[in-house]
Symmetry: C2
Subunit: 479 residues, 2 copies
């Protein structure tokens, strides 16, 4: 493969350029003609489909149902929950014309659907019988990005799901917030092999409309934290202005308790950064559009026929066992070119099959994530590959988890703070709970309070002000 | 059920009002705060998910893959294919502001994605190896509706899929157009139990950018035809302005041949109109969110326990056999109320189970589509219901097909034309091929040439001008 075709920078040398080359050259995405917007090509969309399928199944099993909301929201409605609206305002795309006519009340392109959904919920909900209401929307959100475009991480339109639930009691709503966080964690760790740390956002970084925000944070190889998803307890902050209330069993009118939560295609960006290497993508088997690629190796026409026949048999056998397999029978390309091509695309397993392998009734299996090579018996090939795919998924997660654990460092002296950040670490320390300290740390080191972990240990004195600490927290620079 | 809750007009007396009541009262849809826009509630979205799942599977089996395109298209790009653009212009929503800034080149909300997709295809396609390219997008399209909102049929944003393919040869592209038409027909007839007539649109009614447009037409109970989907042969009409070309096997640069095709949630509207009755929805089993509802019947607490236990057993058994089943165990509601409620919602099968049934080791099965009632043995209940669901699907299609066949009338005298239209018929007649006659007929009767059927029989003299006819065609008034 020529230098132009493959990835031309190393992940360590220029992480940002490496990332861009990987997502573009492996044909996951392309840029759209409007700044800030991207297109998903089939391999990129296929990864989103896998995430969606897995999460959608879990949501349905827990009683959530999908719906559809239009992308246009009138300005008057968006402005109804003022605090929430002001944060979004600079990012909103406005429709002001339809055909050749001006529109009176400007229409916002959905930055998020709380206001629209809750104006409807207030009509739909009458009594306790209608609760809980648990609806999810697979759609896209639009928020104008003024900084440079970064596929999956910073785009003006992004694919996501937004869930919105309404409950009769505070406890039930809080349980939903926690259940969703668990369900997200399971999806991200099991499907994308990306380990996450769960907990709460600080008051400063919570969703403006929420009472509190639960978050899932992961740490990228450049030492920056990436927020992978959020689950908000909205309390009655929206139910009051939007009149979402119900008649309880005693016929008393009561304001409902609400939650909202979402994950976006940003998950794909995190997965690429965590697992990719200098050769390109490394895809976890569960989300790989192709899990196994078969490369036939032959040097004469006689050999070709025999090799292709065996390759086809392997392909059929894998395919019949629900393994996503591709036979690369392109003519005029060398096996070496094909190896590089599929390695760049991150396909988890490569099977090489040539005349010598056939003579020995075996094939060669090469794993993308750790570059190891094994010979496998033809007779047990399908079972062996099935179990290898499971092993690879687990090994990729375990390796990423080990790195994450090593990179979260506990410190008690503020002098060490910046140095450890510069080493690409996430800082585990104590914090007094005052935003002043949080702001000062941000100002002096560039780090945000990413998460107040759920498995909170007893805290010592605040890393910044030395007053007695109320909680231990994680700081890092962020995306 | 009180008059207010149920459907209060008859389908024959006021078809339009009946339709609106059905879609709103059965909680399929609701109106959004912006005129022309609707929301899909879970039962409505679930029908769309069934259609999507069935069609998506067929598309993937035939080598199509999904992608994502942003909703915003720059005006300059939209204007590149002028003819195509002029037709759409009055319906386009324009984004002119982002946050508080004005945008230079206005951004259109996707009315359809030909221009955006093909500007990308021209970058992606280099050689014959890259062909065919067969990509599909499940998204929504936005076209400002000035006439009144009609859920599923006339809305300013609608869910659809748009497929776009590129081929090396004209023949291959034309085969794709025909294959997609078949695949649509199969989906519409087998999933929605709606019979369609396939064929070509006239020059006047084809998609402006196409060489020709294949269509699927169905006939609604009010005598109006509904276009259920289209498949366009684009020839090289777009590949030339958008520079979609490839190097062939002899290294010669060649313009590619293209197709585009789509179906929308309009399919759901057609299905509701065809099958619904005075009591409300009648859903074909394959797309019904709930296929079987179980109503327990008891008059004392002793009976209740026993009946609910049996009802639960039935539910579990059906559920384990992948039947979508719901046990309506709501307290304080009479069985009669529940019967009406689920009939309005169109659930294909109702199972009634009471102490007498249990004593006889049987249950009562009531079919929604033809209101028939049978006793079924408890021991074979699951198998019986599985086969009943298949029967119902088939019977619903057969009944609709019989009606369609009866309502297409062959005439040769123009005097009969308007009279038969007024009887709610679709007119099968000969046509000379001149648009003048087509226009005159439209002017005098309000009917459009809906389709030039594929199974074209030899034609006689033109119904209008009496010149020798070139083809036989179907006219009807349309939605």
């Amino acid at each position: 493969m020529s230098k132009e075709v493959g990835i031309t920078v190393s992940k360590n040398d220029n992480f940002s350029e490496w990332y861009t080359q990987v997502v573009i050259k492996t044909e996951l995405v392309d840029y759209a003609p409007v700044k800030g917007l991207i297109v998903l090509r089939p391999d990129g969309y296929s990864i989103w489909e896998s995430i969606k399928e897995s999460l959608d199944k879990k949501l349905k099993e827990t009683g959530h149902r999908n719906g559809f909301l239009p992308v246009l929201i009138p300005e008057s409605l968006l402005a109804k929950e003022k605090e929430h609206f002001e944060g979004l305002n600079p990012e909103v795309f406005w429709v002001t014309q339809s055909g050749n006519s001006e529109i009176g009340d400007r229409l916002a392109l959905r930055p998020t659907s709380e206001t629209l959904a809750y104006s409807l919920f207030s009509k739909w909900i009458r009594s306790w019988r209608d609760l809980p209401l648990k609806i999810n929307f697979w759609n896209s959100a639009l928020r104008a990005e003024i900084k440079g475009t970064k596929p999956f991480l910073r785009t003006s339109e992004f694919l996501w799901q937004e869930g919105h639930t309404v409950h009769a009691t505070k406890d039930e709503a809080e349980k939903e917030v926690a259940d969703i966080l668990e369900l997200y964690k399971k999806t991200i760790e099991e499907e994308l092999a990306v380990p996450v740390i769960t907990g709460k956002k600080s008051e400063k970084d919570k969703f403006v409309g929420a009472v509190y925000t639960d978050t899932l944070e992961s740490l990228m190889p450049d030492g920056k934290a990436l927020q992978m998803g959020t689950s908000h307890f909205l309390g009655q902050n929206f139910s009051k202005p939007f009149d979402v209330k119900y008649l309880d069993e005693n016929n008393v009118e009561t304001f409902a308790w609400q939650t909202s939560w979402g994950v976006s295609w940003r998950l794909i960006g995190g997965m690429i950064m965590i697992h990719g290497d200098d050769k390109g993508l490394v895809l976890p088997p569960k989300v790989a559009p192709i899990q196994v690629v078969i490369i036939p190796i032959y040097y004469s026409n006689d050999e070709k026929e025999n090799v292709l026949q065996t390759a086809c048999q392997i392909k059929d056998s894998l395919s019949n066992n629900d393994i996503r397999v591709h036979l690369d029978d392109r003519e005029q390309l060398t096996p070496g070119f094909k190896f590089n091509d599929w390695e760049m695309k991150g396909i988890p397993i490569r099977i090489e099959i040539g005349p010598k392998d056939i003579a020995k009734n075996q094939a060669v299996l090469v794993r993308r994530h750790n570059q190891t090579k094994t010979s496998i018996e033809m007779d047990s090939l399908t079972e062996k590959i099935s179990s290898e795919l499971k092993n690879i998924q687990k090994e990729m997660f375990d390796a990423a988890k080990k790195i994450l654990d090593e990179r979260v460092v506990k410190i008690s002296q503020y002098q060490q703070f910046k140095e450890e950040l510069d080493n690409g670490k996430m800082i585990d320390c104590s914090w007094c709970g005052n935003q002043t300290c949080e702001d000062k740390i941000k100002e002096e080191t560039g780090a945000d309070l990413r998460v107040i972990p759920s498995n909170n240990t007893k805290a010592e004195t605040c890393i910044y002000c030395k007053n007695s600490g109320t909680t231990n927290v994680l700081f890092a620079r962020g995306y």
